[in-house]
Symmetry: D2
């Protein structure tokens, strides 16, 4: 059992350290979620329970890794932003990507019963991940703007699509009607045909989820029975615009 | 909401395709499992329920990805061998590593209650992953031999260690007694002091778990009520030597 | 002048070690050689002096790096094959590629006057390089076959093209006549119109250059004035088929 | 000669594009230059002719690649700074590194006779190269400061060392005397024992060479015989401090 005789195989491991001085974004995407959603009869266009479960799993990830500055999620994807100076696992890409994917997926299954108590889990969910580097703060913001613009575009489309389908159209007809249409057309369609004012739909659906850390006050039971108020940083989920400057002015610590 | 204005950020994604013509080994390792084991009071030196859960999660991974030829697991780690010609996700390292880590972790949580019904999950388990390439068949076999030799060495040590601890030694005393000792000494210690013949301990503990696909016969209920026998390939778990040639002669398809 | 204060910038250097156990091919290509050839009025379709200069530069590279097993060149490109077990500069890609490009280019300029004594160098030649890994011997042979097939295809085309141009056609007419034509047509064109039997043209033009090491006998002048015969391995240039098995059977050491 | 049958080998080429939005520094280092200097009897501690030749080769590189913002050289090394937005050869590392190494080396040999007319080139010089990315302007400046601080430290040491050797010490004695000594000690040694005021030595030796582009006025001969003054950007060599802010304030375009 001379283990040492085989240890040369470690030389085949390659170094995948990510360039220092850059923001690291780890983005997860659900694999085969169209089928997974159908199997569990998720509501269309948005299933609030499933979205809250995604947020819960994201909070578990943010809570675990102090180097994560913020996260942004929509539908079946979530992006986690590690700080420029993060030295976790020597910035090795495979370590960071696999751990985020692993913890998120495990938390998703663990917290499933709390969020979908009446729907037994009938398949194992799976998320793929990747790491992308952004050297400049402005490019990181553009990345996040890209994802939030995507949230809006997808949600407007899906809201129209499912309204049409629920009104009796086939899915093919609904797609045909929406193909190539502009935002204005879709807003008008929702309002005039279905009485839906898109801008009053829940911000969660229109803007996705932003996870940041906020100072929260927690009641702590002391040994002598009294309670004491303590403050600590905890991941919280917001649904707000992160494209405009306001958000970044209110949270200067995020890019600091 | 001009998404296109932000889409340039995709140019920052890098290509991490793995060299063609090489075996791809994706190895997962439990993160913080010493603490995780203590928290859930896993039996020492081996908790059969936890090992079976690892195997179950590994079977889920092997069942999902047809390009996996075999897997080998021990303790809180598992290695998955993708075929040389695997073209899954364009052989992108981050995709393969994250999906294996994600599915394994999600399955570990999903199947936990079936394997540890009396132990509620009290923390979210996490596995990190990495991909390593092996160009030659002989080097792949040396990799697997390395892991199996490691299983043996760790298990012999742990068996002695916990026998000493259960006999009343402190953990520091037990480590001190074993430090630098050879296999023969440890085998003799087990036999003379604790009446344990190491070579008769379960092969699962001494050799780890090997997952391969085997033709199994399944009973299929037909619409008319009759049952019909069908054959299909399914992941099975073996506990056998994979260092010597015998195993490879019996399973020529694995390296073919 | 506290150098140490700045030394952290070294952390930004990344590791580009090439996977062990694979053949490393470093291929150089002349940059802007169409213009470079015109500027120095190289003969068409092949300038023997320029080809010999390429071979001379390649021999300098092979002579410098013992880990190079062989090289293959044609036109303004040259491929150098480093052995699977090469550990030169820790197999760092940028080191290997830059040194081969540097030495080849420097030798090209250094030996220019000996090969083109009547043509002053009027511009600085430049070669780009890249490293490619081949895990299997058969794939390495296919790589070399690819280059030699390319030599043949290009040379047959160029021989026809320049024969047509020298017979009075414009370059556009010549290209038009050859576009999409098969080998047989081009062979026939050369023979019937220009009396050229393609298969009797010099092998150097049709097969390119193969650099291997061969045992050569050298006369060595001794201190006492007598001469002594000594044997040593020296790079030699062959012009022979390396696609078929014959060459590899005659030189089993190349892939050993 | 079915070339297409072999073309699959191209799939083994990997993508080595460098992250966008970062400064690219390509640094060349002379390989085996201690021996090369001895062989050609370069003057110690600095051979002005050899340093000018290095600068000449660097100017050839800067003149060729418009994306190079500046270069810094000392002794047998040279660093070339490509702009953050450089898209040359798709930012492929091996292309950039090999072309810079190739052109520099070829130019070094080409211009050798003009700089060392009495010293025939007796060996082929060689430079290795690497590419390093710097995301932030401040880190790029720290990189350049690191190299210029290195120039100073090496030159002060070498000036002392060769003064001691020329005064009759052996090289071992000279090294022994200088080992671990501070700058002040070395400055004092030069002044008190050899009458050398270090700060009055040529800036080229103390500060290295900085290549930037400057607007120069050139006389152009017109077809009618008259001459006309024209302005154009040309690489020029400076020997000045680039650690302090002054240089960067005077050349804001370099980091713009």
């Amino acid at each position: 059992m001379a283990k040492s005789k085989y240890e040369y195989v470690k030389l085949y491991e390659t170094d995948d350290r990510l360039l220092p001085g850059c923001w690291i974004v780890v983005r997860l995407d659900g694999k085969g979620f169209t089928k997974f959603c159908e199997l569990h009869e998720f509501e269309k266009p948005n299933d609030l329970r499933a979205l809250c479960l995604m947020d819960e799993a994201a909070k578990a990830v943010v809570g675990e890794f102090q180097d994560i500055r913020m996260a942004f999620g929509e539908s079946d994807e979530y992006s986690f932003v590690f700080s420029k100076s993060c030295e976790l696992y020597g910035r090795r890409a495979s370590k960071l990507v696999s751990l985020v994917a692993s913890l998120f997926s495990a938390a998703y299954v663990r917290f499933w019963p709390a969020h979908l108590p009446d729907t037994p889990l009938a398949a194992t969910p799976m998320f793929d991940g990747r790491a992308v580097l952004y050297p400049a703060d402005s490019t990181l913001r553009d990345y996040l703007s890209w994802r939030q613009a995507d949230t809006h575009i997808n949600n407007l489309y899906n809201t129209c699509f499912w309204a049409l389908v629920q009104s009796g159209k086939t899915t093919a007809e609904a797609h045909a009607e929406l193909r190539g249409s502009l935002s204005d057309y879709k807003n008008e369609l929702l309002f005039s045909r279905f009485g839906i004012n898109y801008s009053t739909l829940p911000e969660r659906f229109r803007k996705g989820s932003v996870v940041i850390r906020q100072r929260v006050t927690v009641q702590k039971q002391m040994p002598d029975g009294r309670t004491k108020q303590k403050e600590r940083l905890e991941p919280v989920v917001l649904h707000c615009d992160i494209i405009r400057d306001d958000f970044w002015r209110q949270h200067p610590e995020l890019l600091a």
